[in-house]
Amino acid sequence: MERESCQRLLESLSEYIDGALREDLCQELEKHMKECENCRIVVDTLRKTIYLYQVNAPLTEMPSSVRRRLYHRLELDEFLDDA
């Protein structure tokens, strides 16, 4: 990532991954990636990084004890078993 063009494109990568980058910049970036292995790796690993966080998110669950104490604090104990 030493070259000036890599440096300039770095700021666009996040929007590129979201599909929100301007068309002309997209083309420039894609053209650049064909020639620049490092930038291609950065884009792929950036995409994978986001993916890993997304697939991991649902694995964080609220413990049932936390839920029980929340209902209690809110004086909703009577509704605890309904859900």
Binding site: M1, C6, C36, N38, T45, Y53, R67, L70, L76
Partner: protein, 208 residues
């Protein structure tokens, strides 16, 4: 993307504003999981996360009559929870740091140093319990500014506009912070996974 657990029928704002207890219980049931997840990832502390979770719904209950329904309920709850969590973080570590000022730390570590293609690692390696703990640790290393944007956008799946709404930032600021957060996380994950690549030494300083 992770949508909150939506109840079978829509929650009635009208009933909520009338402080209907059963309806409030349905709101809590539907959204407490997502509030807890955000809180624990923002704070990296189970007790603090639980405090924020409780405070969020207490505040929500008190402010229900003022909630005009223009924003989604989830966005509104995220806003309360994020404010509570960031306040706690500020008290804990940076008593005078404003979340609106981009700090110098935000821009550090965005420069790609680890250029290793670890995408091909098998899923069980990428998602091992050790790796998952590392993912959490990497998020906790971000500044609270960047962490909040990243969690709302990429983990909770909010749009740029919704994230801007929750954090009272411009959409441009959300995009800038998201980009920095993602690059810093990519860097951290690359350092971690590169060591687990079978037959390739990590290349440093990314010379072309």
């Amino acid at each position: 993307m992770n949508k909150p657990h939506t109840p079978s029928s829509e929650i009635s704002l009208e009933l909520l504003r009338k402080r209907d207890r059963a309806e409030f219980a349905r709101l809590v049931e539907a959204y407490s999981g997502m509030v807890y997840r955000l809180a624990i990832k923002l704070l990296a502390d189970a007790q603090d996360a639980e405090d924020v979770l409780q405070e969020t719904f207490i505040k929500a209950y008190h402010h229900l009559p003022e909630f005009d329904g223009r924003a989604q309920v989830s966005t509104w709850l995220y806003r309360i929870a994020t404010n509570e969590a960031l306040m706690l973080l500020r008290r804990r570590k940076h008593p005078v740091l404003s979340i609106d000022e981009p700090s110098e730390e935000d821009t550090q570590g965005t420069q790609p140093v680890h250029i290793v293609d670890w995408c091909c690692l098998p899923e069980d390696e990428l998602m091992s319990s050790e790796a998952r703990a590392y993912l959490d640790q990497a998020v906790a290393q971000l500044t609270p500014n960047l962490r909040a944007v990243f969690l709302l956008r990429d983990v909770e799946g909010l749009s740029t506009r919704q994230t801007a709404e929750v954090l009272k930032l411009s959409e441009t600021a959300v995009k800038t912070r998201l980009s920095r957060a993602r690059l810093q996380l990519r860097e951290a994950l690359s350092a971690y996974y590169a060591e687990r690549m079978p037959d390739r030494l990590p290349r440093e300083e990314g010379a072309a």
